[in-house]
Symmetry: C2
Subunit: 633 residues, 2 copies
């Protein structure tokens, strides 16, 4: 573990990232938001993560290649998890590029005595005709929609747009007022923008090349926006920012309290998140060199509270027993009415959700992992302040939410911090403690993945007992070398383990793991584990029946599955079956932005998924009690 | 013809009207807006207009009973034209009471650990359940919808509401913000208001009894509003007012010019008609003793220009060759956005239209006369400044618009006036001239029906030649008695005929018919006649193949068909086949308000009706030239 930073560039994505020496290409790709296959658990046996390096003639395994210098890495679709998924499962929501928002450049015949159609009918007829031609051009048979597979998931197929139900295509009233003028001032050459069953804008000339959407993962802490070219399906810019609502507290409960306790609290929170979305739209469009007006749709996926706040809908009932949402259906809203600065006629689509504690982000994760189309049973886990779990297959999907606690996000950990520069993200104990620090400099704290690593290593070393007790002095096993032994010190009267010595020059205190920190992790991992076991009970399956365990979200991306399994955060499943799937909520939101079929699947998913309320279950309480222990070696 | 006024009260409508001695009950009913059957043309042979008088045991024929005193008249459904129509044609748009707007009173189960549905899902599930129960209660088999006939057209059937497409029922975003509060403040007992596929309001407690709509005939001159109870289908109040846009001119052209010439002209006209609609809503709701907020939908039928102005959509292209509308589809708009003071969540439905000169009012007329469902060929004529004509049957429907000119509305006639108090409305020539004046007092001018009567009688007497020349002095036939002969005077150097002597005490001048007045009528009736003949040419039929000629609108109601036929305004069709159908545009608008099936039919009609542009046709020009002559006796 060396602090030298290397510049890695991924192609064809065009994403750059800096990583320390020794990092594998698989890990680097994950941090860049690119999810590679790792069916063997990253041990180098499945050959599914092959990538090409500019410097080498033959492909290399991304999981086995340790970075020691700058690289340009080209990743074929066959090594990408979501693209591979399509081949594997045979059907997914992303089979076709078929966004809700479409553009049609039209050269209309001006009215004459022989053709006295009204402006609206003239326009709608032409849109129908244009849509029909696109379908005929690329898609001779459109009847196979739901079952046909597009191997790449990214073909240029433009079909099944506004024409699906000819009679239903309407023109927005607001547009009618402008229609006669726009047509006549532009010699009847205009671009119609339509959204499913309505034409909502008509633009002068040919603007059909400018058609973008934004898929946003609205996290309680971090908001990530993907600007997507709806003509090609490609992400053209990514930006993320801190949710400005954090000024009212880290977790959803504190936000809900603010909305309840201040007269304009709800409006404040609403305006803040809209402001954040506006900033991300501005940033991504600037990066991509497009106008924000060329963005016609924003898809928002988040937990129920965030989704309510995006729309400005009251949230108090989410925090009061028995905890219900104001809405769980997918909501379409006017961008303009929400004050969202995309095209003023643009649409905001908020993902459908399952329950007050299983939001649209979980639906998006489930969608992107194609769990609904799988015959084998899979499990998905998304850890944040809460841990949402989904378990099942195409026959039945269960979901629950556990109060994971903020430990894995660095909160309530004495020197905890988020996975930012200075955070210890990896811990290895051999003769002494080796750490990796994000950014490669001096350690400033410890983040979730470092915490799990540290616990796993200390459990293996025997410094921590299965009960969670941090041993000290004579209690420590005899075989522990002095290099480790001297790291057990006392902080505030209780044992603590020094992960990074203090830098004398800078007068920092050492970075330690305290007994209290360990207890916090036990609470969080116990709740998550108990949630997973409870769902397995309900589905009447054993862990070995789980074909694959997907780890979603930034956290799932950074932890070492081996360590997570060691501390009992994950059940005892073969490593080869544990697959980090990155920002799967964002991926699901992007699918929904790009495919009406995916949108339909999301809606169906949200209704079909069975919510298991853990609070009311005796078995959950029992399992939780015993789950706080760490597994024996 | 006597000027004594009698008070007639029609039951069960509850409408009162004052008429002069000698008026038939048929005529009185027409003026009250109630259309009776007159299959024999009012000659007393068909027995289809039987009504009951309080004073008589046996029913009397409305067409044969001449009023000589106050009366209470009860009209059975079997004598009413539109109700009879349903029996006759077997199918119409009014088969079922099935308004777009529905209410469901719901007593929701509050959320619990066993039932954690979100507020929106809880509400939608309950609406579905409520809708299903209503259907089951009154309508065991809902699959026959389009073909089943409801003999009364007014049964209390409440069915096929929001539940038609379960998956599509959504909740308005605006409502979501209020939903959690409204539910919890009202112990989950609320009334959901839905419109087809969306729930757009949720009201505290049970308000299901308060559900009203307004059907409006938006005329260029007069606007008539019917407030309808959507639970019973009954009209509960009627009000009419002058279209305030008349300050910018009598006809649509002058309105369009105003919109073009003034920077805010369009907005002015829009605001004026919205103001007028608001006044009529206020007046009708006051009469009925309900709150304007209990009105959830307004259906507007008018010519294309009026419909554009209701929505504030530009109209200049309607007046510029080749004359097209901005829209012809049916438009749904937010009442609140339009500034219409009904329920703020209410909907404004603007009728679909056919062409720039065949508006939603003509579609409404065609709908209410059930022409689309008739196997026999019928013709409808609606005379205003323009004359819209519809001809055909269920196989094919043609329509055109002719510039009738303003003569029949009293404009460009020297002493012309609208059909108001003081207008000569009937003229009969025997030994001398007998006139009937509206209101029974001194004649102040002549209205359209009086004009047609006068011309017909003077043609019969030989005072006017078929060329239209008004004879005077020695040119008059010898057999004309002195009582008539002395009425031919000179006005502004040309012959004129005195219809009413001047009242010396009041220094009024006599009411005369001038040569120029006659020419104006010739122009108008020639255009209408030529339009009718052109449509017959296109359909390749002769007048005797027309099963029925419907006269729509106030004018059609007041004229004597015999006189109209005599002057060649109407083709030579048996009187028994000519049927005034009253404010058929308003009736059509009411049907659309009350029945989603009618709404569907209107939409289909507007697309199916073939617009025949007369301006481009040589045959029309030829016929027009010869049509200005009066038929020989």
């Amino acid at each position: 573990m060396n602090s030298q930073q290397n510049e890695i560039r991924f192609q064809p994505d065009g994403i750059r990232i800096s990583v320390g020496n020794g990092t594998t290409i698989l890990e680097a790709a994950q941090r860049a938001g690119i999810v590679l296959n790792s069916f063997c658990g990253g041990v180098g046996t499945c050959d599914k993560c092959l990538v090409e390096l500019q410097s080498q003639a033959k492909p290399v395994k991304a999981c086995q290649y340790h970075i020691t210098g700058d690289l340009v890495v080209t990743i074929p679709d066959s090594s990408r998890f979501f693209e591979q998924k399509i081949l594997e499962e045979g059907i997914t929501g992303t089979a076709k590029l078929d966004p809700s928002v479409r553009k049609h450049y039209l050269e209309l015949t001006p009215p004459s005595l022989d053709d006295l159609r009204s402006d609206d009918r003239r326009l709608i007829d032409a849109v129908h005709e244009s849509a029909k031609q696109s379908v005929e051009a690329v898609e001779p048979d459109i009847s196979v929609e739901a079952d046909q597979i597009d191997a790449t998931g990214k073909s240029g197929a433009v079909g099944k747009s506004c024409e699906r139900d000819e009679i239903a295509l309407t023109i927005d009233r607001d547009l009618l007022g402008k229609l006669p003028g726009v047509l006549r001032e532009n010699n009847f050459q205009v671009t119609a923008v339509c959204n499913d069953d309505r034409v909502f804008a008509v633009e002068p000339g040919d603007t059909s090349g400018e058609l973008f959407g934004v898929a946003v993962d609205v996290g309680t802490t971090t908001v990530v926006a993907n600007l997507v070219d709806l003509n090609s399906g490609k992400t053209v810019a990514v930006a993320s920012g801190t949710n400005p609502q954090v000024t009212y507290g880290d977790d959803v409960i504190s936000r809900i309290q603010h909305s309840r306790d201040k007269p304009d609290g709800l409006e404040q929170l609403h305006r803040q998140i809209i402001g954040c979305l506006n900033e991300l739209v501005r940033e991504t469009s600037q990066k991509a060199g497009i106008a924000a007006e060329a963005v016609y749709e924003l898809v928002a996926a988040g937990n129920a509270t965030m989704q309510h706040l995006v729309l400005g809908v009251p949230v108090v009932q989410i925090a009061e027993a028995p905890y219900v949402s104001a809405f769980s259906a997918a909501i379409n809203a006017s961008a303009q009415q929400l004050g969202l600065k995309i095209n003023p006629h643009g649409n905001v689509y908020v993902m459908p959700s399952v329950a007050a504690h299983v939001g649209g982000d979980t639906v998006a994760v489930t969608l992107s992992a194609a769990m609904r189309h799988s015959s084998s049973i899979n499990m998905a886990l998304d850890i944040g302040t809460n841990g949402e779990i989904v378990l099942g297959n195409r026959d039945r999907l269960l979901t629950c939410s556990t109060a994971a606690g903020p430990a894995f996000e660095g909160a309530r950990i004495r020197q905890g911090m988020r996975g930012a520069t200075g955070a210890i993200e990896r811990v290895h104990i051999n003769d002494d403690v080796e750490i990796a620090v994000i950014g490669g400099g001096q350690a400033a704290g410890i983040c979730g993945s470092g915490l799990i690593d540290a616990l796993a290593e200390l459990l293996n070393a025997g410094v921590i007992e299965p009960s969670g007790k941090l041993l000290s002095g004579d209690d420590l096993p005899e075989n522990i070398p002095a290099t480790i032994r001297r790291r057990v010190i006392e902080v505030e009267g209780r044992p603590a383990f020094v992960l990074a010595e203090k830098d004398q020059a800078k007068q920092d205190e050492p970075i330690t793991l305290t007994q209290k920190d360990i207890r916090e992790v036990q609470l969080g991992k116990g709740a998550i584990y108990a949630g997973m076991v409870t769902l397995m009970h309900v589905l009447e399956i054993e862990p070995d029946q789980i074909s694959r365990l997907y780890l979603a979200g930034a956290f799932g991306n950074y932890i070492r599955p081996e360590s997570a399994r060691r501390i009992g955060l994950l059940p005892n499943i073969e490593l080869s079956r544990i697959q980090p799937i990155g920002n799967a909520a964002g991926t699901g939101a992007r699918e929904v932005l790009l495919s009406r079929l995916a949108r339909k699947h999301a809606k169906e998913l949200s209704v079909e998924m069975e919510y298991v309320e853990l609070a009311g279950r005796a078995d959950f309480q029992d399992i939780f009690g015993s789950s706080m222990m760490f597994p024996k070696p």
